[in-house]
């Protein structure tokens, strides 16, 4: 089949077509940025693969863009195991993080709990080349939730009350198995030895909710700003012994990109952002209106009137 000239031409056309497509694609997702020698500092903003984090990345990114930075995006990179190395290698320069979770990821034996302690421990645990800016007051913590019916039937209001159950199944991210403030913490701090664990990798998202509602699991770890908690009237169990570490939103940035202007812009955003805002933004993006994350971020910034 390669004997004929026609065949050779066809292959040639195919290869040429393929390379055209490839080059087209490379420009469509122009990732590296930075090759044009302008005065603008270029910043690559990344995010984890859940929508709240995407919105936060859009907010920080748009704020920087409005202040003369050249911003490119690498959103939805994946879980920490995927994006932290990318951050360390400088392929991404800014990721919105949650102080407690990132600390646990970096230091498996971390025990810090209060916002100040967590920030101090985080500064120590961060690898060289990365800087944590001032955390926001906006927080999105782990929270254990049960259905109202289950709470009423078993008189549950606090995590400590779970001790009275014969046994129960808890759904959370796989990290919860190994985190110090996950299963281990529930066992040691609250003395719960009646836990069965089911890992559901969607960060307290729709699959976790479904498992809770159909009683596949009785307790679910759902991030506190998730709209589904209010929408389904879930009962969030209180955490009287403060097991769950403080989870303030904190931008982690490449130290090489840090300058007065960048710090100023990002800190202004962090200072303005509240937990209620996070809930509201999540509701817009994932609730009934399904607003595009970038649009929701833009609306928030214009409402905040920071710049």
């Amino acid at each position: 089949m390669f004997g004929s000239k026609r065949g050779v031409i066809a292959i040639g056309v195919l290869v040429a077509g393929a390379s055209l497509l490839l080059s087209g694609c490379a420009s469509s997702s122009s990732l590296g940025g930075g090759s044009t020698p302008t005065a603008k500092t270029s910043v690559v903003v990344g995010s984890a693969n859940f929508s709240e984090n995407v919105i936060l990345a859009d907010i920080y990114g748009q704020a920087l863009a409005a202040n003369g930075f050249k911003v490119t995006y690498r959103l939805n990179i994946g879980a920490r195991a995927a994006y932290i190395p990318a951050l360390e290698k400088g392929e991404v320069n800014l990721i919105p993080e949650y102080s407690g979770s990132i600390l646990d990821f970096l230091n498996k034996s971390a025990t810090a709990n209060s916002p100040a302690d967590v920030k101090a421990a985080l500064d120590k645990a961060l690898p060289k080349g990365l800087t944590a800016l001032t955390p926001s007051t906006a927080a999105d913590s782990d929270s254990l939730n049960v259905t109202p019916a289950f709470a009423a039937a078993n008189h549950l209001t606090s995590i400590a009350d779970l001790k009275n159950l014969k046994s129960f199944t808890l759904a959370a991210n796989p990290e919860f198995q190994t985190r110090p403030d996950g299963i281990k913490g529930l066992e040691s701090v609250y003395g719960l030895n009646n836990i069965k664990f089911k890992s559901i990798s969607d960060g307290g998202g729709p699959a976790t909710l479904k498992a809770l509602l159909d009683n596949t699991v009785q307790v679910a770890d759902i991030y506190s700003t998730t709209p589904s908690i209010a929408a389904n009237k879930l009962v969030t169990l209180t955490d009287p012994k403060s097991l769950f570490a403080s989870q303030e939103v904190v931008p982690i940035v490449s130290t090489s990109k840090v300058n007065a202007k960048l710090t100023d812009v990002l800190n202004k955003v962090s200072a303005k952002l509240t937990t209620a805002d996070l809930q509201e933004l999540n509701n817009e993006v994932s609730g009934t209106t399904k607003t595009d994350p970038a649009t929701a971020a833009k609306n928030w910034l214009s409402k905040a009137a920071l710049f």
Partner: protein, 230 residues
């Protein structure tokens, strides 16, 4: 509300640009699948030992879950973590894994009589390969390539788990934000893309294998279906 119209060229997950990214991930693995497995498959068809070694090695590679390969390849290659090459290499491994067996079967299907006749009329080994065996193996190679292209297009979506954009982003976003229309859009877009790749492959085959057209339709279809079982 999510609308395909608003998200075709715009929005955070523009369907058109994700499609281009997706194509960019698929073309090279499909080509690699073809060009690498031809010599390997030929080797396998000539020697039983080579066949069993090659087929077992690639079968094991194939049982590796794609998500594992997508994580292991970047570590092994030492490339940038967000470099699309990582996904391209992983998909190429799968493509070769599928295609080696098809190509071995394709060359085995060329009867010994024909090879002997070619030698008898004075063809050199190279001439025999390019002018006799390769063309005769063509239809079965094509059937294998159609599977390679379809599965590559479908597998490329898994790359989103390591941060490489493709139409798979529409699934993760649809799941996170619970937008069924977006997920269906993603699935349909992948199916359409697979169909387009399939049409391109058959067109190339029609140009390269003109005699295949003259074969009775039924026979050609039967040939293809047998290759598909494997």
């Amino acid at each position: 509300m999510y609308s395909i119209w608003d998200n075709f060229f715009g929005g955070s997950y523009p369907i058109w640009y994700l499609t281009l990214d997706h194509i960019g991930l698929c073309v090279i693995p499909i080509l690699v699948g073809f060009f690498v497995s031809i010599p390997l498959g030929y080797l396998a068809s000539r020697s039983r030992g080579a066949r069993s070694v090659l087929i077992s090695v690639f079968s094991i590679l194939y049982t590796l879950p794609s998500i594992v390969l997508f994580v292991v390849v970047p570590v092994t290659l030492g490339l940038a973590i967000l470099d699309p090459t990582n996904v391209i290499v992983a998909l190429s491994i799968y493509a070769v894994a599928i295609m080696v067996r098809s190509s071995a079967d394709a060359f085995s299907s060329v009867s010994a009589d024909v090879r002997e006749s070619a030698r008898a009329v004075g063809y050199s080994p190279a001439q025999r390969f390019f002018q006799v065996e390769l063309p005769l193996a063509g239809p079965v190679l094509l059937a294998g390539m159609r599977i390679v292209s379809v599965s590559t297009v479908s597998l490329a979506t898994v790359g989103v788990f390591i941060g490489i954009p493709s139409l798979g982003l529409l699934f993760t976003d649809a799941f996170n934000r619970q937008i069924p229309l977006e997920a269906v859009t993603g699935i349909v877009a992948v199916l359409i893309l697979a169909l387009i790749f399939d049409v391109i492959l058959s067109t190339i085959a029609r140009i390269l294998l003109p005699w295949n057209r003259r074969e009775s339709r039924r026979r050609a279809a039967r040939t293809a279906s047998k290759a598909v079982v494997m």
